[in-house]
Symmetry: C2
Subunit: 189 residues, 2 copies
């Protein structure tokens, strides 16, 4: 049976059996308890992540208040901005559930590329996809009303609404929890 | 003398003379008059861009109103979401000034990769950088007040404030032109 990472990569290219074996042995998979902080504000990220199970949030702490900017779930990669820029992170990454995560570092990624050079063009395609997603997320945020943002989330990521506390959903949508309750009541009528 | 594209790529890897020659001959450079629409809502983007001179904006038309989401200037690549997803674009790209732009298509990019395979890993790095930028832009938008967003723009992209009409800057910041005037007056005191 294929690992989730092999399944994910197979969306982009057909992997040979040898490549699948290399990938299956390469992964550095780790379990984390709910509440684990993977990255803190002020730290330089030396790891990037691929979520096998669970949910991770990214958020800022602004004057003691949590400001959520993203939720990452199964089959999603996380490349912290700080991992790319090599500057201290401005935000946190936290496990909202017990998680199983595959971890990459610049060393392990470089080693993987040496063994499977074809992954270089795959990397470009994956980052291009993530870039398009991030741009749509930004555009949606600035052109939609809070109610439309909620409906958009219902449509594109319905699983999040059941597994994530409402106050974090509200923070992600840029509204107060009371406003989210009102929106939900209005839409359920 | 090196072309702007070679200079841009040299930030990422040291190019050989042969690679520089291939790149210099590969580029498909075109001039566009101010006001040219490079991409329209509803069209599928078959080109990606690298700006050599000028300024391009991305915007949505919502009930007749322009909602600006980005400004791209010299040395910046533009990969339209529609180019990646192969679905109709939801937004416009328009030249705000007379522009000189290098244009890539999936065919020309594939040909370039055949000639200079090393560019594959470079592509990944470039998209990773763009992804980090886009994420910072999103995060800034949702965690900063309009005044802080303006100050952020002053700090990070001061050139934009002089070359772009104020009503487009206001749209980009998510505020009304009157509010932008007030913010500017307050900060100039």
């Amino acid at each position: 049976m294929n690992s989730p990472i092999v399944n994910f990569l197979s969306k982009y290219i057909e992997l040979t059996n040898e490549e699948i074996n290399i990938l299956a042995n390469q992964n550095f998979i780790q379990s984390f308890k709910k509440g684990t902080i993977l990255l803190s504000e002020g730290k330089i990220a030396i790891e990037c992540y691929f979520i096998l199970k669970g949910c991770v949030s990214s958020y800022y702490l602004i004057e003691g208040n949590v400001k959520v900017t993203g939720f990452y779930t199964e089959q999603q990669p996380i490349t912290p901005v700080s991992y790319t820029t090599k500057k201290p992170s401005k935000y946190y990454l936290e496990c909202l559930e017990d998680c199983i995560i595959s971890i990459g570092t610049s060393e392990s990624n470089a080693e993987l590329l040496r063994k499977v050079p074809r992954l270089a063009s795959l990397g470009a395609t994956m980052f291009e996809d993530q870039l398009a997603n991030e741009r749509m997320k930004y555009d949606d945020f600035i052109k939609l009303s809070p109610e439309e943002r909620y409906q958009n989330l219902q449509k594109t990521r319905p699983d999040l609404l059941n597994r994530i506390p409402q106050y974090l959903i509200a923070s992600y949508l840029g509204i107060k929890p009371e406003s989210l309750s009102r929106i939900r009541k209005r839409l359920n009528k």
